[in-house]
């Protein structure tokens, strides 16, 4: 069985799917990514599907599952590089990819992850500020 390589770039794990994956390879990728998120402490996952000429319900579900697993492990997932024909087909198939963030390319995906992290820090800071105000009043 082929394995999809996972690259670490700074605080982000980059997965560039280059082959027509068998279902088993897709399931293996889910497990490998979960391991790597925990091992590296990365807060972002980018899955580049530029090379995929189809996304069927199995791969679609894998993408959703990866996004959910990452979330639980405190990492954001962004799927990038979806081809127009793939997007059209996915919608007609009835797959909405709920809960998955998407971006046109890797660069925008990285910006999206950085922005999401910044928002979270702001929120945490606001909460802290609120707590301080409450305590002092």
């Amino acid at each position: 069985m082929e394995r999809v390589p996972i690259l670490k770039i700074g605080d982000i794990l980059l997965v560039s799917i280059q082959t027509d994956m068998s279902d088993q390879t897709a399931v293996q990728l889910q497990e490998d990514l979960a391991e790597r998120i925990v091992a590296t402490g990365c807060h972002g996952v980018i899955i580049d599907i530029t090379a995929l000429d189809i996304v069927d319900s199995f791969v679609g579900r894998m993408l959703s599952t990866i996004a959910s697993i990452s979330k639980v492990l405190d990492a954001e997932t962004v799927v990038v590089g979806m081809r127009p024909a793939v997007a059209i087909t996915l919608v007609e198939l009835g797959l909405s990819l709920n809960g998955i963030r998407t971006a046109l390319n890797v660069e925008r995906g990285m910006e999206l992850i950085a922005a999401a992290r910044a928002d979270e820090h702001d929120l945490a800071f606001d909460d802290q500020a609120d707590a301080d105000t409450t305590a002092s009043s």
Partner: protein, 139 residues
């Protein structure tokens, strides 16, 4: 690029494993390109074939696929026949409903595949198996 595929003859392929599902996708893609389907239509028919091949494997316990070119005098297309001798489908209407699944999937395989092709024919009998024929025509 030569593919080594003789398009005059139907191409048969067994569906016994995950890797066979990948081979079905590649075979359908080759024929779809040969009959000059648009990129979107190629993508649709390959996706439909992927769903149906997986169903043949997971629900039908494996089977066969036959991919051929079709010609109705006006347009060319790709025709794919999936056959298994598995348990068959007891309630076809239910099986064709979006979101219905007995296998833990998303329940989009059969209903979604039907939307992605131009012609969809399903014959099934409990205890005997299922045979699905789909056709996608060039525009």
């Amino acid at each position: 690029m030569t593919t080594g595929v003789d398009l005059g003859q139907p191409q048969a392929q067994a569906i016994r494993s995950d890797e066979d599902v990948v081979r079905v996708r590649q075979l359908v893609r080759t024929v779809a390109v040969a009959v000059k389907l648009s990129l979107v239509d190629q993508t649709k028919v390959v996706t439909a074939a992927s769903e149906l091949a997986r169903n043949t494997l997971v629900y039908g316990g494996g089977g066969t696929v036959e991919v051929s070119t079709a010609d109705n005098g006006r347009r060319k297309g790709v025709r794919i026949v999936f056959a298994d001798t598995g348990p068959g489908i007891a309630d076809l209407d239910l099986a064709l409903t979006d979101g219905y699944t007995t296998g833990g999937g998303l329940g989009l395989g059969l209903s979604g595949a039907r939307r992605l092709v131009d012609e969809f024919d399903i014959r099934t009998a409990v205890g005997e198996g299922t045979r699905i024929t789909v056709t996608k025509w060039s525009r």
